[in-house]
């Protein structure tokens, strides 16, 4: 489903063919790590579903999710990015840098214009960690939806603490996702001192793991970053971890 703002754009703008953009789009799809890991549905998460990227600090959780968001934005699916750590301008820089990195080998004028169009499919909301609550998020969301400003297809919540926030809050978020026909992605910060269980999940995450439809893990080995599916991929998909390009968080060529 396309958001209201996107619809309005459709009315007014004459669509041109962006050859370079088609190339970038193709590249993003082909090198999308989650699709390559054997998640079948093009959109990976079903409506109302929850997904999470688990990793130690500094490995690239946010970058991976921003890359996923760019994927959605290119498919004209609005993404709401909720950050509990960073300011709006800093979140914006993540998107710009990842996009520019991919677009650097293409025509600047064209990609610049396309970027302006893609921005219509993104909304950044930041909260202070202590000020974040599900009713508050819902209030903001309805503000946006009632006025036809923005209706997210997917939501990214970056910086929510799982060891502290109990199962209750996640249940509320799952309900919210179903209610508004969205899917929500989270970043999960795992700790180095906490060895994972057999299924790759850290102990402190086990109490909520069943609520998630998709779980993937990022791990750094030296300068390289690997991605591994922990939950939700199709059974006959290959199980190996894939190597990512740390600059773009896409599959390394």
């Amino acid at each position: 489903m396309v958001g209201a703002r996107a619809l309005r754009q459709e009315d007014n703008v004459i669509h041109l063919t962006y050859e370079d953009m088609i190339m970038i789009k193709k590249e993003i799809i082909e090198r999308n790590p989650l699709l390559n890991l054997g998640y079948e549905n093009d959109y990976i998460l079903p409506s109302g579903g929850l997904g999470a990227v688990l990793a130690h600090a500094g490995v690239g959780k946010t970058a991976l999710l921003v890359q996923m968001a760019l994927h959605a934005m290119m498919h004209e699916q609005p993404v709401l990015h909720v950050s509990l750590n960073d300011a709006v301008s800093k979140v914006d820089v993540w998107y710009r840098e990842l996009f520019n990195d991919m677009a650097s080998s293409y025509d600047v004028a064209q990609t610049g214009e396309y970027w302006e169009k893609m921005l219509n499919y993104r909304f950044i909301m930041t909260f202070r960690v202590e000020g974040f609550s599900v009713p508050k998020l819902e209030e903001r969301l309805t503000d946006l939806m009632e006025q036809n400003i923005f209706k997210p297809y997917a939501v990214i919540i970056d910086g929510l603490k799982f060891d502290e926030s109990g199962r209750g809050r996640l249940l509320e978020l799952k309900e919210l996702a179903a209610k508004y026909d969205m899917r929500i992605w989270f970043t999960v910060h795992t700790h180095r001192h906490e060895p994972p269980k057999e299924d790759g999940l850290p102990l402190s995450f086990l109490h909520v793991a069943d609520l998630f439809d998709v779980l993937v893990q990022l791990a750094a080995k030296g300068p390289e970053v690997y991605i591994k599916a922990l939950k939700g991929q199709s059974p006959d998909a290959k199980q190996d971890a894939l190597l990512l390009d740390p600059a773009t968080m896409l599959i390394k060529e």
Binding site: R5, D11, N12, V13, I14, L16, H81, A87, V88, S89, V91, D92, V108, A109, G112, E113, E116, L119, N120, F123, I124, M125, T126, F127, R128, G131, F132, K136, R140, D143, L144, E146, Q147, N148, I149, F150
Partner: protein, 695 residues
């Protein structure tokens, strides 16, 4: 011999509107004994603060033009530039930062780092101005200086560290604890002029010790001696600590934070001490001039008073006795009676009166040495001109000047007003490079251009008050632009035979869009189908066409013209003929190159209490705004958006009425973006209508 400039400080006071800059300047002047009584900004006593010298400023309670002022503190000579806080006047802020060596960043202890502070901070970064922060209004309810220090770190990325902690807060604010001397300071007397130093109150001792440790820790990164003293557990002397903090401040790697309340006369004197201890002397700042004789090679200036003169005129004012030119001397000494040259036009000027300014009063001096800020009388020049000694050909780097984005037609009420208006416009455009004026030859209207609605409003007001020029204003107009979106070929022949010698010229080639330049002309003609002497005429013809699009008559940008063929006639070809041919060729190709209209998009940042977040977003959305994001800050939230300038007229009134006056916003130019089709049609209709009424 080099003049010792160790005791000179040129500082600016920059901050968000209403965070108390002018009140602070007023207190500084009082404590440095430049004035003998304190006045409030809004002029309750009918006098008004000394730094707000323009009548209009007094009335609106805001600072419009920056007044330069000179004062002395404990043997140091301090030049202060009071800078305006509203974003529409940022050229003033930028100009002051250009000539300053350091700055006090004033923040409100309740409002904290607001969007305007972010703009000002960017500007300080651009000119690499070291700064110390002053958290003002600690007497207000809700004051929390440490929250503001946190914001300085998180929002502005400053390595902010407290130099003081408050003794009491809000109505209970009594004084501050100096973390360097580890003493409590109280400010007694009617105007806080008597400083009482005592031991730190028992209940604050632990906090003071902890904060001092933080200070020492942060400072130790900038001084090996201090690190050594810490490791060897020696006593850390104030000199050692100040030297380390100063080191970090000059590198812009540390921001020392002072706090107090200017309005309640608390802790201004320690801030002045901070200015003298921590901000740079003129020779500690690297200033660069461009050598015009040597391909504009940058030259580092030395602040030597014995060298030939290099000075920059950074501000003009129309005073009772003619034009007053504020200058900053970078090298040499500007003396009464000496001869200087204006590098821009090569004119020789004899220096008459040299003065040091104290808001709108002045004090005559004999000379201004390198590093000084002062003013000259009776010198004709524009803002931004460089003055040098004869024989020198250097210019100070040109200042960054944004292009105007909005225009307004003004009509004088009668003949007398007409005279006064042209006098005023002449003055304003000299004073402010972002304010432009011209006469539209088609409509015969006088047009003024500037950076925002308020910017132009203020000038219209000033015309009335200072020059007695009554004018009526038209609707503000947005500076639209046209550009092309695809390549189009042309092959145009200009032929005229009207008796006598005729006109002949043929030009062929193509135009195509480019993104990184306004106009590019490329000559790919081989074999002289157009003789070389006519090529400049062709370029001129194309360039002329760029001034006005054939359809909507907005200026055209982003076009590359390539000519690759043509023809000429031995008798009938001329410069005129090829210029006309180029104009014809451009017109022919332009409409086939799918022209589009671009409009200025403003970055609009609104700060509002969270309960109005929804309605503010609605307001922005109705104005074709794209909301980039919203930032939750507890009770307040900040909404960042991009809105077409054409939709922003009257926004401040509507924002006020729908948020009970509790929201505020800043607006600055962000980029040009293509206008949606439906709006483009509307604009075309308006243009057609305007033409009709003009005819």
């Amino acid at each position: 011999m080099k003049f010792d400039d160790q005791k000179i400080r040129n500082i600016g006071i920059s901050a968000h509107i209403d965070s108390g800059k002018t009140t602070l300047s007023e207190r500084i002047l009082f404590y440095t004994k430049r004035i003998h009584a304190i006045h409030d900004v809004k002029g309750k006593d009918g006098v008004g603060a000394t730094m707000d010298s323009m009548e209009l400023e007094k009335e609106r309670g805001i600072t419009i033009a920056s007044a330069a002022t000179y004062c002395e503190w404990k043997g140091h000579e301090i030049n202060i530039i009071d800078t305006p806080g509203h974003v529409d006047f940022t050229i003033e802020v930028e100009r002051s930062l250009r000539v300053l060596d350091g700055a006090i960043l004033v923040l409100c202890s309740v409002g904290g780092v607001q969007s305007q502070s972010i703009t000002v901070d960017h500007q300080m970064k651009r000119y690499k101005v070291p700064c110390i922060a002053f958290i003002n209004k600690c007497d207000r309810s809700g004051a929390n200086p440490f929250r503001v220090i946190g914001q300085l770190r998180s929002k502005l990325g400053h390595n902010a560290v407290a130099m003081q902690i408050p003794i009491g807060l809000e109505t209970d604010l009594q004084g501050v604890v100096d973390l360097v001397a580890m003493k409590a300071m109280y400010f007694d007397g009617d105007s806080g002029e008597n400083i009482r130093i005592e031991e730190i109150p028992e209940q604050l001792l632990a906090e003071a010790k902890a904060k001092r440790d933080e200070l020492v820790d942060a400072a130790s990164l900038f001084s090996d001696e201090l690190t050594e003293a810490i490791l060897e557990e020696k006593e850390i002397t104030p000199e050692l600590l100040y030297a380390a903090v100063r080191n970090g401040t000059l590198k812009r790697a540390l921001t020392p934070v002072y706090m107090g309340s200017a309005y309640k006369n608390k802790a201004i004197q320690p801030l002045l001490d901070g200015v003298t201890y921590l901000l740079p002397t003129p020779s500690e700042v690297e200033n660069i001039a461009l050598d015009m004789n040597n391909n504009e090679e940058p030259v580092i200036l030395t602040s030597d008073s014995e060298k030939p003169i290099i000075a920059l005129a950074f501000k003009l004012e129309d005073g009772q006795y003619g034009q007053l030119t504020y200058i900053r001397v970078y090298e040499g000494t500007v003396e009464k009676g000496s001869t200087i040259i204006n590098v821009r036009n090569g004119k020789k000027v004899k220096v008459g009166r040299v003065v040091r300014m104290h808001a709108d009063q002045m004090e005559d001096v004999d000379h201004l040495r390198a590093g000084y800020i002062g003013a000259l009388f009776g010198i004709e020049c524009s803002s931004g001109d460089t003055f040098v000694s004869p024989g020198i050909n250097m210019t100070m780097t040109s200042m960054y000047v944004p292009k105007p984005v909005i225009s307004l037609a003004i009509v004088p009420k009668d003949n007398k007003a007409q005279m006064a208006m042209s006098k005023a416009l002449n003055r304003f455009s000299k004073e402010d490079p972002t304010f432009k004026t011209y006469v539209d030859h088609e409509t015969n209207e006088t047009i003024i251009e500037g950076m925002g609605e308020l910017h132009l409003d203020i000038y219209v007001e000033r015309m009335k008050r200072e020059y007695n020029a009554e004018v009526t204003t038209g609707n503000p107009r947005v500076a639209y632009r046209e550009t092309i979106t695809q390549r189009a070929d042309f092959n145009y022949t200009h032929k005229k035979q009207t008796g006598g010698s005729g006109q002949f010229g043929r030009i062929a080639g193509y135009i195509e869009p480019i993104s990184d330049a306004e106009f590019v002309f490329e000559n790919k003609i081989f074999g002289g189908t157009i003789p070389t002497q006519y090529i400049p005429a062709c370029e001129k013809g194309f360039k002329q066409s760029m001034a006005k699009g054939p359809k909507l008559e907005f200026p055209i940008t982003g076009v590359k013209v390539v000519i690759n063929d043509g023809a000429s006639h031995a008798v009938d070809s001329s410069d005129m003929a090829f210029q006309a041919a180029a104009r014809g060729a451009f017109k022919e190709a332009y409409l086939r190159a799918k022209p589009v209209v671009h409009e200025p998009i403003m970055k609009v940042v609104v700060e509002t209490p969270t309960e109005f977040q929804g309605s503010v977003m609605g307001l922005l959305n109705q104005r074709r705004g794209m909301i980039i994001g919203s930032q939750d800050e507890g009770v307040m939230c900040v909404i960042e958006s991009q809105v077409p300038l054409g939709e922003m007229f009257g926004f401040s009134t509507i924002l006020r009425s729908s948020t009970q006056g509790k929201a505020q916003f800043t607006m600055e130019f962000a980029l040009y973006r293509q206008v949606p089709q439906s709006i483009a049609e509307k604009i075309a209709l308006e243009v057609a209508q305007n033409k009709k009424t003009a005819a």
